[in-house]
Symmetry: C2
Subunit: 458 residues, 2 copies
Amino acid sequence: MAQNNLRIIIIGGGAGGISAASTAKGVAPEASVILFTEYEDVAYSPCGIPFVHGREIPSFENLFLQTSEHYAEIGIDLRLQTTVTGINLGNRTVSVGSQVFEWDRLIIATGFEYENPNIPGVDLEGIRYVKNIRRAMEFDKVLDQVKKVVVAGATPIGIEMAGNLAHRGLETHLVDEEAWLMSKVADPDIMEPVQKSLEELGAKIHFGTKVLEFKGADGKVKSVSTSAGDIDCDVVVVATNKKPNNRLSREAGLKIGATGGIMVDDHMRTSVKDVYAAGDCVEVVHGVTDLPIQGLSGSHAYSQGRVAGANAAGVDRAYDPVYIPWGMVGGKVQIGGVSMGETLHKALGIPHFVAVAQGISRARYYPGVSRIRVKLIADPKTLRVMGAQMSGGEGIKERADFLAFAIKRGATLDDFAWMENVYSPPIGALMEPIALAAQAGLAELKKTGHMPPKFAGA
Amino acid sequence: MAQNNLRIIIIGGGAGGISAASTAKGVAPEASVILFTEYEDVAYSPCGIPFVHGREIPSFENLFLQTSEHYAEIGIDLRLQTTVTGINLGNRTVSVGSQVFEWDRLIIATGFEYENPNIPGVDLEGIRYVKNIRRAMEFDKVLDQVKKVVVAGATPIGIEMAGNLAHRGLETHLVDEEAWLMSKVADPDIMEPVQKSLEELGAKIHFGTKVLEFKGADGKVKSVSTSAGDIDCDVVVVATNKKPNNRLSREAGLKIGATGGIMVDDHMRTSVKDVYAAGDCVEVVHGVTDLPIQGLSGSHAYSQGRVAGANAAGVDRAYDPVYIPWGMVGGKVQIGGVSMGETLHKALGIPHFVAVAQGISRARYYPGVSRIRVKLIADPKTLRVMGAQMSGGEGIKERADFLAFAIKRGATLDDFAWMENVYSPPIGALMEPIALAAQAGLAELKKTGHMPPKFAGA
């Protein structure tokens, strides 16, 4: 099935591009695979950057996962610091300045960029974004010289940066227009322990506060002007939302979706034959709502890259709609979930019932035990679980993976209420917190007379 | 549906009996619920006992979860230190010596007992079993006075005791006839890191060694005679296999199954109308093999008690076949799984394919990262996963819960290979170890030409 002697070109060296290149080469070893990236490096973990700044991880060197030589060895022609300047869909070429490269298959993995805050002062020295590892290395040296930092935006990266910079001992201000952390995706009760933890680390959180201007002197940022007054600072971390980086694709004429991501089908094929796309630059189908969604995780980019690379090289591999397990550490607290929480279901007007409970991660007498709050958002008629959010404890990532898998396959509150679970004092409680949440939900439905007939006997 | 004024009698105050009593009372608040137990206490965690001996947990007091008064408050008539001496199925009564109690519904939750080693010397002073908390409190004082312990049997409880007693600083010998730890249920490669960890804690492990006799002087044990010579000791912990404690049920004429457990249907109903049973005294259906199985976890006993209690009180609640997620800590190493491992599939002659990989629990550069070995045992024709075993890392309990849920619902290697997973450096790696194992399995099937046609495109 795999075609050989193919010329495959990949634009982008992040998780999507790298996995596409490796997979394509694996499927079609005789194919020529060229990967262009404007950056100096590939195959490092950008997600680790905040933790090096926070000195949880000793060095940026730790973040490199593979050497460039490794890719040469497996036959991938890596072109570092090489910016693709144009895509020609008719001629089936890409341009790098005046150089032209022909392709039989093109895979676009141009990733994300931060939303421009579009306020005065964005070009001042000291306004930083967390993305490229070389810039992070430079920024880390800057951080040695400064005392006060403003993080603009209580997004996931904003929260990771605020926690880590506070942990490093800097005076850290986290500024956000909304009333709680990660308000676009997470529920307030889930984020409350994160807020407390950030404050315990010393971060100052400014809710309901709009960033209006970055003010400077001698070209350097000196303060952030907000709707609640000025905050002095030496540097600013801009942590706005991520949006697809698709100028090239747009100029080339590929179809762009409502979210701003490149439109792809279930094989990661774009609107043009033999052109694939993967990662943060695309939009994919959200399994629960059937709506397009963009801006997922490195793990999603990696999987999409595998699918795009395999299909480009001649295999028939589908990419399923996504249910989006997510998880992170905010301050010292684990949070995570699947698909959407209560807030988003409410905002979108989706009928929903929330089953919630607090459980524990180990036997309650065992050292290291911690609380876990679990919320399951279910369809009130079928009791199918549509989403989940959790905070606290340990094992949030594993629970999110589990819930995503189960939700994708139509699991109901009843299924979770009667799930089997491990019980062993050092690693698990008698009752799994997910089961407790489901049981509490069923009990409430029964008490309030809202139990769907199908489950009336439960 | 629930019937009131019922007289419900429960025999046994462990997880099964206590959950049956609480659930029955919840469903039928007007019912009279009497619970008999021969012991001094209910609602403590026997599973915590080894960890108090090991001084991981400061005191036996920590293991008590509820007071007896709590049960009186919710209307359960608790009869402590009261041994039921007979069950009369015709008269619908139980006897406590000369006293007779009538029931409309009877729930039997008489738990397990250790298999009798049936060798000379079992009645010597210093021969101990881990079961009752009062005996454990006494034993803990004895442990303050001794130096050398033999643990007879590398069963789960034997391994927990050996690790904890070594951790306490005692000269600890773990003796087992077989060639690796937990050989009846676990695979040797899974148990190898546990063995290393126990040895690092100072435990001496004697494999291939049969215990022949407990030898004593003045009625006290002084050594254990084995097929490989004598081992001096001050006390012996007998950690034989657990078997159903069902003398009463057998004498009463209830049907007993091939495993020695009381036979129950999918509503925890015994062979006699209005008589239910739950917990370690019963056998239930194993979801993968459809064969009866006994001797599961406290969590299973608790769930079975809920079902028995609910049905006894008038609700219609089924108990599904079990897939048996399990997990524990051996030495310092987490192990766990679902259903059966490679060894048992082989022993039972079930066609199977093993997909195996080693993954990591966090980003590989993040402090606290550890390795996780995952083995998925799949049907070679359908690629449906039938069982799993894991060791290492963190999150084994959560993964076992997940795998049990997914296996019950027919998940294949392909489903796991393409599962979505959380990626966040402090809590999860780019690729989930379960997915890596499935991917490695598929790659091997492809390479060796054994991929079933349905998955040929993968």
